[in-house]
Point group: D2
Chain length 256, copies 4
Amino acid sequence: MYSVDLNCDLGESFGRYTLGNDERVLDYVTSVNIACGFHAGDPVVMEKTVKMALEKGVAIGAHPGYPDLMGFGRRNMDISIEEARAYIIYQVGALKSFVEAYGGKLQHVKPHGALYNTAAKNYELARALTEAVYDIDSELIFVALSNSIAVKAAKDTGLRVANEVFADRAYNKDGTLVSRKVEGSVIHDTELCKHRVQRMIKEGKVATMYGEDIDIKADSICIHGDNVKALEFAQGLRESLLKEEIKLEPLDAKYK
Amino acid sequence: MYSVDLNCDLGESFGRYTLGNDERVLDYVTSVNIACGFHAGDPVVMEKTVKMALEKGVAIGAHPGYPDLMGFGRRNMDISIEEARAYIIYQVGALKSFVEAYGGKLQHVKPHGALYNTAAKNYELARALTEAVYDIDSELIFVALSNSIAVKAAKDTGLRVANEVFADRAYNKDGTLVSRKVEGSVIHDTELCKHRVQRMIKEGKVATMYGEDIDIKADSICIHGDNVKALEFAQGLRESLLKEEIKLEPLDAKYK
Amino acid sequence: MYSVDLNCDLGESFGRYTLGNDERVLDYVTSVNIACGFHAGDPVVMEKTVKMALEKGVAIGAHPGYPDLMGFGRRNMDISIEEARAYIIYQVGALKSFVEAYGGKLQHVKPHGALYNTAAKNYELARALTEAVYDIDSELIFVALSNSIAVKAAKDTGLRVANEVFADRAYNKDGTLVSRKVEGSVIHDTELCKHRVQRMIKEGKVATMYGEDIDIKADSICIHGDNVKALEFAQGLRESLLKEEIKLEPLDAKYK
Amino acid sequence: MYSVDLNCDLGESFGRYTLGNDERVLDYVTSVNIACGFHAGDPVVMEKTVKMALEKGVAIGAHPGYPDLMGFGRRNMDISIEEARAYIIYQVGALKSFVEAYGGKLQHVKPHGALYNTAAKNYELARALTEAVYDIDSELIFVALSNSIAVKAAKDTGLRVANEVFADRAYNKDGTLVSRKVEGSVIHDTELCKHRVQRMIKEGKVATMYGEDIDIKADSICIHGDNVKALEFAQGLRESLLKEEIKLEPLDAKYK
C-alpha cells in the first residue's frame, strides 16, 4: 500500500504580525515545519504553534532559514559553511526545546526558502546542514527537494531523508522547480495537480514543463495554508489521495 | 570543607565584534555563562565558545537576556510573563543544542543584565523564568542573586538554585546590589574584595554599604574577564581562596 | 470657524507581513504618521507609503518608536536620554529622506506606542525627543497627548505642537488615557464618540471616566485603520464633523 | 598640481561593541564614510561620529550596506532593485539627518562591503543605488571602485563620481580587486604601496597582479584605521604624498 506525508510551513507570524491559518491547516496535514525566528516566527509564536501541533497530534519539524526577517528568508545570502552549520544548530535547538518542554519529540528538519533551494544545488552547503542536524540528533529526518543533491548529502551523512514534491509546481528536466518568475511555473488546474501527485506516488514519475517524464520520489507533499484557496486545495488533495487508497501518515511512521 | 564556584560571562562577541578574553578567562573559572544571541553572542560565537569550554573542562550555563543587542540586555524592557517564558525556552534551547552536539551537558541557567536584576525583585517574572528552565530540564541549576526573590522562585519551582555573590560590589540592606550609578558601589581595594568573599563563604555574612552585616549565601562568585585587570583580579581571588582551603568546583559538584 | 486634523498611523507593514488598510484609510485622514523601521515598517514599505500619501495629498509625519520590532514598540524600554535623542534623529531623518526624494515636505513627528506614552509623563525624555526634532528642522510640528508634559516640552523647545485626542478612549482626571487593561477604557458607542469629539473641539472639554469634566485641546484626532470597522468609524466621524461645520485640515494649515 | 582624497570607514562600533580608532584616524584622512546602522553603527555611534568629524573638519559621507549586522555587510544578499533603492534612501537619509542637525553638509555616499563589490560589477544594481542618491540630493558625490561599472552608472545618472583606489590591494586585469582569498591579494610591502599610489595619481596606471599595466583613476584612496599598524601606514602614506607635492583634500574641493 502507498503512503505519503502532507507537510505545511507553520508558525510564520511575528510579534504583531499574523501570517497563515495555522489552526485550520493543522486539520489537513500530517507534519508541520515550524519557523525558528530567523526568517519568520518569534519565541511566543513558536511556543503557541508547538502546543497547537501537539494537541492536534501532528508531527513537528524545524524550519530554519537565513537570518533575514526583512526578506522572509527568500533572498540568497553568501553565508559560509561554518555559519550555515551554526545557524542550523541554533534554530533547530531552539525549536526542539519548545517541543520537548511540552513532552513531544522533534521529527524532522526542513530548511526554508532560499536556504532550501541553494542546498538543493550545493552539496557542500547541504552537507553542512545535514551534519549539523545529525550532530543535534541522528534520529532526525531531513526533508529535501526530491532526488536533489541535498537528498544525497543527507544520505551520505547517515540521516534518514524524505523526498519532498510540490503538487502545483512545474519541474525542470534536472528535477529542480521552474522558477516562479517563469510563466507556467505554477499549475492552477486543481485536477491536474491531483493527478500529478498520484502519479508521483504510484509511478515515481512526473512530466517536466517540456513534456518528457523524469523520475521523482514522493515521501512528502508540500501544502500551503496562507489563504482560503490554499486550504480548499489542501482538502481536495487530501480527499483525492484517500480515495486512491494512499495512506496519509507522518514521516516517522515510514521508519517504524 | 568549604567550596565555591567561580563563574564568568562568556561568548559575548558578535559577528565582526570581539568582546572579552574568552580563552584566557577559562583558566580561572569553574563555570561559564554563555550568551545566547539576544543581548550578545551569535550562533558561530556560541559554537566556538561551547567547544572551548568543553575542551577546558569548564561547566557550561546558558546566559539568556532581553532581545536587545543594541542595549546589550542592560536596559529594562516591559515584557510580559508569557514573553519572558518563551524567550528563555528559545535561548536556553539554542545553547543546549550546541552543548549536546559536542557531547556535553548544560549545567545551569543564569539570566543576564537587566533581566537578572528585574527577576531578583519581581517574583512573578522570576517564577516565569524558573518554570521555563524547569520545563526544559528539571535537573538544570538556576543561578540568581544571593537570597533574592529569584532564589525563592527557583526553589518554589523545584529547581536546584545557586546563590551568586559579587566580590567587588557594595550591597544594600536588602541584599540587592548598590546601583553602579552610586559612588562607592564598586569596591576597588583588591584585598578587601578577597576578604569579603572569604567571609561570605565561611561566615555567610557581608557588610552592607552602611556598615551593618547581613546574611548572604555564596554558592558562586561572579568574575569578569573583559580586560587585563579583571583577569589579574580573577587570578588573585582564585589564589586567595585556594590558600584558605576553599575548594573551587562547578555548581553541579555540590549536588552529586 | 473650528478646524481639526484627522491623523492615522500608516506604513506598519514589514517585509512579507501586511498590516492595516493603508490605501483606503488615506481617503479619510488629513495627516498620516509613517512608521520608521524600528517598531514597524521597512525601507520598501516606507517608500511605497510615502508615495501613496503624496499622491493623495495627505500630510506626512514621522512615527518613530523604540527599537523593538518583536514588541511593536509597545513595551517600555529604559533607554537613556542620549539614546532617545539619537533614535529620533535616525528615524525621522530616514523618513524625511523618502519624503524629500519625492518632492514632499515632512509636516510633523509623532512618537509611537510606549515611547509616546512615556514621553507624555516624563519631561526629560519628552524634552530629548522635542530637541532632537528641533535640531532636524525647527519648522516640524510635534504631535503629543493633549495637555500632557510632552506638549509643554515641545513648547519649551520652541516647536509648534499639536494636541492629540482620542475619539474612542476614556480619560483619567489628569488627562492621560485610561489603560487598555481597565474595563471601559475603550468606548464602543459610536454616537457617543462623535459627540465627545465635537465637544472637545468646540468646548475644549471632555468627561473623564469618573464623570467630571476636564479641559482638553483637540488639534488632531487619532483614527485607526486596521480593520473594516475602524474604516467605517473613520468615515462616520468624518461626516459628523463636516456636518457640524468643523473644517478638516492638516496640522500645518493652522500655522499658515 | 595633483590632488587626492584620503578616505576611511568610520563609526563601525555598535552598542557595547567598539571597533576601530575613530578619533585617531580622523587626523590622517580628508573624508570619512560613516556606517548607517545596517551592517554596523547605531544611532548613538552615528551621532558621536558625525560630531567628531565635524569638529575635526573632515568631510562626511554615508556608508550604507546590506541589512546584515551579523555578517558586517560582507556577505552578498540577493536583494531586489527596489529594495536596494529603498535601503539607500533610508540609510543615507538617517546619516544626513545627523550631519544637518549639527550644521554640516553630507559630501558623498560610498556603499559598503559586498554591496560595493556587487555594484562594481552589476550595472542595474549600481544604477539603482546612484539614482537613489541622486533623488536624495543631486549634489552628492558617489564613491565607487575606480573605472568600474558603478562609476559609469553614477555618471549616467548625472552624479559627480569619485574613483576610489586601494593602496595595499592587488588588481585584476579588468580593474577589479583580487579576492582576499587569493594569495598575494594584499600587498604588505609599505614602500611598494606608496609607490603604486603615486603612480596611480600621477600616471593613471597600476600594474596588475600579472604584471601588465592598466589604466586607473585615483580620486580617493581608501585607508584603514582598525589597528595600530593601519594608522602607521596611513601616516606614512600621507607623508609620502605630501612629499611628492600631491595635495590632500576632500572630494568636494575638486568640484569647486
